[in-house]
């Protein structure tokens, strides 16, 4: 619908970080509409298979800077 990709720079896409309420494993997936921090969702934990997960963070991952820091 919108021509953002051709005309403008890419908008950073956040990831949703989920913590399993059973084994505390944290994993991430792309953000989905309806996600919000501290929301309990029914998604399968990739480690223990439990279906109770808590969204503990939604943020855009930053790549570590490869260039050295400016001296100023």
């Amino acid at each position: 619908m919108f021509q953002s990709k051709q005309k403008f720079g890419e908008v950073p896409k956040p990831l949703t970080y989920l913590q399993c309420l059973n084994c505390n494993t944290v994993n991430s997936r792309p953000f989905k509409d309806g996600d919000h921090i501290f929301k309990e969702v029914e998604e399968k934990c990739p480690k223990c298979g439990s279906t109770k997960m808590l969204i503990i963070g939604i943020y855009v991952r930053e790549e570590k800077a490869k260039t050295r820091k400016p001296s100023l």
Partner: protein, 376 residues
């Protein structure tokens, strides 16, 4: 002496070049502002290109807003015109010739403006629930902001062109890099608000939400869109104040703190505010700085109210600021900002242990937009 020897030249081509050069120099002699005219046309061309880009951004944000509203609206074809009506709405600042009582006059006007704006969006989108309606209101405000930037830049561009005023367009050209950066941040913000993603400005709210997480608490609304969560931490009683989430709201922290102070009397021993703050160029995003005072942005009403009541009761004010740029504040939250919420929490706990005695009470206010940050 032949004509070809004019000016010491020997061939016809050199003669023509010399005459042309002389004519060109005479333009500057008889028309002293010629160079300025050339410069003006270059600046106007540059501004026109940037204005076109600004228009594209404006249209993109407007289109996204319209698309988001349509899902919750029953207005049909009227929606387009209704959105334009909201985009062109305005708020008139109170008269400041006599500054006495200006803050409360300003508060009255801002509250009326915010309420009527939200009400208009709710009427337009009856299918949206409470949180969604707040988020859509934020989205319309973003669209209104970018539309205003576009119209203002266009005004100065056309005025400069009409009056051939180089000083006017020169100033505009100098400001354009920052204006374009802000406009692009608005464009990215429209994505965040359309999807309900947390933004950088919400770091203060995120920090206090983490502070009360897993603690036994009593939650109640103290002012519009503002909640207080009473918790106990290391024997200290904390009144944690934040905007209600996960819909986009900033609440009324000033009014909230004032009401809490009125209700608590002399019990409150410290007021701690946590907010995102604008970093200077060259500074690291997510850096935490601490100081004294009220860390609250906006037009100053909330800051004034907290300062006023704190001074009256002689309560110290401590502040924590998480640095970020203006673009980072309104676009989806970055990793470094999200991680800063955990770090600032430790600092807040440390200051509470240091400045507030056991059995005493402190107010901790997380300032910012609560979009995408639920209640704990």
């Amino acid at each position: 002496m032949s004509l070809l020897q004019f000016g010491g030249q020997q061939d016809l081509a050199s003669l023509i070049a010399t005459v042309m050069w002389l004519l060109f120099m005479m333009i500057f002699f008889f028309y002293p502002t010629f160079s300025q005219r050339i410069q003006l046309s270059y600046i106007l061309r540059d501004l026109e290109k940037k204005l076109n880009r600004l228009k594209l951004i404006r249209d993109d944000v407007r289109g996204r807003t319209l698309y988001s509203l349509r899902d919750f609206s029953e207005a049909g074809e009227r929606l387009d015109a209704e959105l334009d009506r909201l985009l062109n709405s305005f708020m008139i600042y109170p008269e400041s010739m006599d500054p006495y009582g200006i803050v409360y006059k300003l508060e009255h006007i801002v509250t009326t403006w915010e309420d009527s704006f939200e009400e208009a969006v709710r009427e337009l989108c009856p299918k949206a629930d409470g949180d969604r309606a707040k988020t859509l209101t934020n989205l319309v405000e973003v669209a209104r902001g970018v539309d205003y930037i576009y119209r203002t830049v266009r005004h100065y561009y056309l005025l400069g062109k009409k009056t051939a005023n180089i000083y006017l367009v020169l100033q505009l050209q100098m400001l354009m890099p920052q204006i374009m950066e802000i406009a692009d941040a608005y464009r990215q913000a429209s994505h965040a608000f359309a999807h309900g993603q947390p933004i950088g400005d919400g770091v203060g709210v995120l920090a206090v939400a983490k502070l009360v997480k897993d603690l036994e608490k009593k939650t109640y609304e103290i002012a519009k869109d503002t909640v207080v969560q009473e918790v106990s931490l290391d024997g200290r009683r904390l009144l944690v104040l934040r905007a209600v989430g996960p819909g986009g709201a900033v609440g009324k922290p000033g009014e909230g703190v004032r009401k809490l102070m009125e209700a608590e009397g002399e019990k409150v021993k410290a007021i701690i505010t946590i907010d995102a703050g604008l970093k200077l160029e060259g500074e690291e995003t997510g850096k935490i700085v601490e100081g004294v005072g009220v860390a609250v942005g906006g037009i100053g009403i909330d800051k004034y109210k907290i300062e006023e009541i704190a001074k009256k009761r002689n309560v110290p004010l401590y502040a924590f600021v998480i640095y970020e740029s203006i673009a980072e504040a309104i676009t989806p939250m970055r990793e470094s900002i999200a991680k800063a919420a955990d770090k600032v929490l430790e600092k807040v706990k440390a200051i509470i242990r240091e400045k507030v005695g056991e059995g005493e009470t402190a107010i901790v206010a997380g300032i910012g937009n609560s979009i995408g940050i639920g209640m704990t």
